[in-house]
Amino acid sequence: MQSAVEVRDLTVAYRENPVLWDVDLDVMPGTLMAIVGPNGAGKTTLIKAILGLIKPAAGRIRILGKPYQKVASSVGYVPQRGSVDWDFPTSVMDVVLMGLYGRLGWIRRPGQSEHQVAISALKKVEMDDYSDRQISQLSGGQQQRVFLARALVQDADVYLMDEPLQGVDATTEHAIIEILHSLRSSGKTVLVVHHDLQTVTSYFDEVLLLNIRRIVSGPVSEVFTDENLRHTYGGRVAIIKNPA
């Protein structure tokens, strides 16, 4: 069976310090996987490398068997909430429509049908009443839902989400998890950078424990063990020394 996401020998370095080292990963279609690891473990870097936002020093990444550039329209992305300026003068609807820009192509503006798609995505995240709101008037959880809606309209096969549950209220957390589960049951592949170890077992099927290197990955029930966690988090490990 074709992997949804296939990462081989991926090494990423800032200057000459490795942020990811020789990481291998296979994610089968229909998997809901958490990426877990301490700060600076390279979780965000892994997501960005898969999306082609960062050029790796070495390694091969394939999504649905193809390089990212070829399948970009089948990949949805939810960046960290803090990565944008929420005081930007735009509405919830506008942000969600941005998910369709790739499909729209140059110059064409979003029309009636695009608005329909956006509204139904907003309904899924229970934000349809807010479509005209300016984004700075939203709470953290609402902002996160808007980002999720933007990814939903991409109607992708593979979703990459960077800390979608960071700093959201309990209601939003449940709403998001419900959506993640429904994505999985419709055969989508979802990779989620996750920080809360308590909830990994109940929310996700598979987990990747990452700390610059891949510690282990596989079904939560098998690999999410105390020993592996100690291995991932225990004894803060130094980054490889510069040869110079």
Partner: protein, 370 residues
């Protein structure tokens, strides 16, 4: 002065300044939202040597030709800034200041060099420093209009791409939009706006024309489209207003007056704009405080009454524990609450919650728990 401007010239000049204001307002919107205001300043200063070099090379004073030189030089400056920050430990702000001042220094050297050379044609080049609207002729205005129109059409065509670039660059990247190309395009458009302004306000004050209308417009709206149109109008208004104002009295330099008009619009917007303006914020804050103060009194009555059988149990004023320096404030809060029908005064002067007051208290308690 007035003899100089017969009606026809006046119209030309006003038109020129209007176009400048409009175009820089539109592009300034993106500059300000992308937090690149100081880059605009650097680029406009850095455009200066381009004028000198072009003059030395071609001997021409045709604005269009000089503008091309200015554009190349301004654009080169952004490239050098990028080069420095990506290939050394020098930070962005340092690179910006360094390139701004060194390029400008080169421009001044060229200018003094030209002034001292025996070239009869050299007069008037330094008008690019602070601008000299009086030197605008119809041909210049036509050039400015064409360039401005091209810039605006490009913004309109790539509207949604530029919007996404300004809001969430990484997401744009993930949609495989050519972000570097878009960056380049937007920077080029800003350079165009700057060279349109060279003759009118000059290189030194040009950055104000980029920043001010956008900052002012931002206060009145939460929509990018509206903000862009408002910035265009405000820029155009400052341009036209500045010219007309500056000829109304002697010895008023046009460029700085245009900038002052733009700043005045910023001042008004920051103070008076609904929702965001300082005045508005202040009113909202005092209303909020007032509400909190009366809620505190209400909750106090509620807490006291809870120790009794009935939540509507009356209490004397002095029993209320809210610490107010003056009893007058407490009394005012109570009568305000009474006016809203939340409390009522008994015959003995004691205060009690009304049923709707009790209801509100329950709601407040719930809110606070959440």
């Amino acid at each position: 002065m007035e003899q100089f401007f017969n009606d026809y010239t006046l119209r030309t000049v006003v038109l020129g300044a209007t176009i400048l204001g409009g175009v820089s307002g539109v592009l300034g919107t993106f500059v300000v939202l992308r937090q690149q205001s100081l880059l605009g300043d650097a680029v406009s200063h850095a455009a200066f040597p381009g004028i000198g070099i072009t003059f030395i090379l071609t001997g021409s004073k045709v604005p269009l030709i000089l503008m091309v030189g200015a554009g190349i030089s301004g654009w080169l400056a952004t490239a050098v800034i990028l080069l420095i920050t990506t290939h050394s430990r020098i930070k962005y702000d340092t690179a910006l200041g360094l390139i701004l001042s060194v390029f400008f220094g080169v421009g001044l050297v060229l200018m003094t060099f030209i002034q001292k050379s025996p070239n009869a044609n050299q007069a008037g080049l330094d008008s690019f420093l602070f601008g000299q609207v009086a030197s605008l002729v119809v041909q210049d205005v036509i050039t400015m209009t064409v360039m401005g129109a091209i810039a605006l059409v490009i913004v309109l065509l790539f509207w949604k791409e530029f919007k996404l670039l300004a809001f969430d660059r990484e997401f744009a990247h993930s949609l495989v939009l050519p972000v570097r190309g878009l960056d380049f395009g937007l920077t080029t458009l800003v350079v165009i706006a700057i060279i349109i302004g060279l003759q009118t306000v000059g290189v030194v004050l040009m950055s104000a024309m980029i920043i001010a209308p956008a900052v002012a417009a931002r206060q009145w709206t939460d929509r990018l489209g509206v903000m862009t149109i408002l910035a265009m109008c405000m820029g155009a208004l400052s341009g036209a207003g500045g010219v007309i104002f500056s000829i109304s009295a002697p010895n008023l330099p046009t460029g700085p007056i245009i900038v002052m008009c733009a700043t005045a619009i910023v001042g008004i917007s920051l103070t008076a704009a609904p929702h965001r303006g300082i005045l508005w914020q202040w009113i909202r804050r005092s209303l909020q405080n007032r509400k909190l103060r009366s809620e505190a009194v209400l909750m106090d009555l509620f807490d006291l009454a809870r120790t009794h059988d009935s939540l509507e149990y009356p209490h004397m004023e002095r029993a209320l524990r809210v610490i107010y320096p003056q009893t007058g404030t407490l009394r005012r809060q109570l009568s305000r609450l009474e006016g809203k029908g939340l409390v009522s005064k008994k015959e003995n002067g004691a205060w009690a919650l009304t049923p709707s007051g009790v209801q509100l208290c329950h709601r407040l308690v719930n809110e606070r728990i959440q």
